[in-house]
Symmetry: C2
Subunit: 334 residues, 2 copies
Amino acid sequence: MNIYDVSKKAGVSIATVSRVLNGKPNVSAKAKDKVLQAIKDLDYTPNIFARGLGLNTMKTIGIMCSDSSDTYLANAIYYIEQELRKNGYDSILCCTGRDIDTKRKYLDLLISKRVDGIILVGSQFVFNDPSDDYGYITEAAKELPIVLVNGAIENDNIYSVLCDDHKAVYDITSTLLENGHKKIVYLYNSTSFSGMKKLNGFQDALQAYGITPQPEYMHFCSKDITCALQTLQDMDAVGLPFDAVVASDDLLAVGAIKYAHSKQLLVPEQLEIVGYNNSVLSKCTEPELTSIDSQVEQLSLAAVDTLMKVLCGDYVTHTSTISATIIKRNTTKF
Amino acid sequence: MNIYDVSKKAGVSIATVSRVLNGKPNVSAKAKDKVLQAIKDLDYTPNIFARGLGLNTMKTIGIMCSDSSDTYLANAIYYIEQELRKNGYDSILCCTGRDIDTKRKYLDLLISKRVDGIILVGSQFVFNDPSDDYGYITEAAKELPIVLVNGAIENDNIYSVLCDDHKAVYDITSTLLENGHKKIVYLYNSTSFSGMKKLNGFQDALQAYGITPQPEYMHFCSKDITCALQTLQDMDAVGLPFDAVVASDDLLAVGAIKYAHSKQLLVPEQLEIVGYNNSVLSKCTEPELTSIDSQVEQLSLAAVDTLMKVLCGDYVTHTSTISATIIKRNTTKF
């Protein structure tokens, strides 16, 4: 028996049930009656939302991420943790790795530890793959609210905060095309929800400028510097010319800078390079790396804000989108 | 009532009590009698160690660190988490920040969540400062075993895995002195247990070569690139010459490389630079950074190994020390 059953029985959304349980306004008398009748019929004890009222709460939020050693995810966790603490909530972090069984197990673990809600950080929880099984997440959402950072699932009790990755890559690619580049390489290291949005942004920008995306200019590299360096050297070896590199992650862009050094190419005069995430790495390279700032701090604060509102039964949009910004350093001419 | 009381009453170590409770060999008949008598006298239910026997265990280890966005700590957490999972244990991570009240609160939280043991990652939990109050850690050690990574507290139920930071900095400084350097700058960003060992290693090496350490050559910088760059520019501005920089963290060494670029100094020909932690940053700079590898993976595995042995009642040394290695890249001549 859970909030999901009440919502189904009453024929209203989970948010409406939550608002009724928390005595919030903006619920029609009719909807309220339906909810109260459903609660009565089901003999439901609203323990989940009672948590939010401080009646039965651990005041603890579960955080899950695939890999805490990833710079981007580590920063997101840091901001989320700080912000939760400001709101009087403790955090439990579980690093799941990429294996789905482990993800499922940790989600169950967090629920069994009676956390009030869960934030899934990073796009490694939802893939744009038809075989992707995120049923365990929707199942968990019957028990408690879930917020995805850089992921989206259509569900009444799942909320998303997203960076507009498509637009960010679309815009930077357009800028490069406008500046006369014709042969732009795209390097990426993930086919996750957000990884695919970035790749599509690149392809859509090319098409908007009448260029058909060529597979030999879009390369999947594992998340390391050497792979990006090798990929560009291989392109060079087979005589594929290029004059700009857009990377889905700063690490790959570092590999592109190393490629330029190895060929004694001037950056940005002979090769323009753009990274993604605006991580500390972008300040370590020579020249310093122009990078897209995916606003990890703002995204993290929005995730906590969303969850706090849900726990209070306040009205909240299911999806919040934040725009990335471009941080211009010295690997681009614009 | 806890294992500490039993140990005190019986007049034997906690390890001995643990071995008796777990039916391990290597306990004298006399010690065993004392323990059993104390348990009887105190009417003690050995619930803590029963956990280790799978009787009453959550099979969960608490991990605490001060800042999950720190590259070094993030890697340690990653390895610890993976290794615990291999041993059938789940992990709960709490990021405490540097405030002692928050550290205390999170330690209490973990104990209340009935974890089987706690690993404190990073040297931000123990300082070589007389005003340092780590009483909350020794208090917690009465409830469950604690392992410190890069920290040490003398206590029967607290274990340490350490990197030999003193020797690492002593050795690299000696090498630089042998190679003819006379004016070496030391940059550091922490006065923690391990931070002080590094600083002392630098000072001791100078003294071994008959050089008195000068305060104007040892600078505390906050943990960022700009601070290190500014510090070296300030030294230059007041006419303090230097020909090598040893840094307690790769980020500070990145600042030193930027200083060299800003003055158009050749690295390593005119300025040799050594970082610490062998982080991903050391592969992003131009030239790539020579860095001391503090063996975060080995330390992490040793921490988990120690805790697993303690939970089984196996004999384990209280302090394990692992040697750092120097990873030679292109900012040094040797």
